[in-house]
Symmetry: C2
Subunit: 118 residues, 2 copies
Amino acid sequence: MRCSPLVREPLTQDWAGDLARMFKALGDPVRLRLLSLVASHAGGEACVCDISESFDLSQPTISHHLKVLREAGLLDCERRGTWVYYWVVPSALQQLSAVLLTESAPTVPSEACAEVPA
Amino acid sequence: MRCSPLVREPLTQDWAGDLARMFKALGDPVRLRLLSLVASHAGGEACVCDISESFDLSQPTISHHLKVLREAGLLDCERRGTWVYYWVVPSALQQLSAVLLTESAPTVPSEACAEVPA
């Protein structure tokens, strides 16, 4: 059961490894801002051309950070012509959000958990 | 407003920096398991003596990881006699959980947000 909050029972070693890879990708301010910019962009997707004007970083640096987020399973992408378009993987964010829930916070309904890939 | 999910609007630079420090601390499987073990321990707190038998790691290594979690604001602690006792900071986990919420997930009620230190 991959939606069980970490405050409820100790994480298994395998599960902690999977989660740590995703949290590590979020452990950088530029990557967090990139993820947020993509997620909040009109239509829920963005290309590097949409993003680069918000960051004082080279396009290769931005592309590198986007790749780290993609490899962690937090973003997905598709090439269309010249540009690669990115969008967030909602089930990944839901999984991380659910595992951090404390007893005093509302629980994620079981339908949301069912969407989370094992 | 520190509960706004990152999918709703782009994170500011300052806020992304604060969040990234916490996510970075979670970006290690041992630290995630330690946090979970402390959080799910009877009474909601644990000392290194309770924890060390679950890990094939030296006590100084465990103490180092606990220090990283404490410095990130995810754990708090208190010395009692020989041992230091640790417990999770619920508002920190709630803050991270809330920022990762997607539109399709339930929103954290405003009372929970009010508990989150700015």
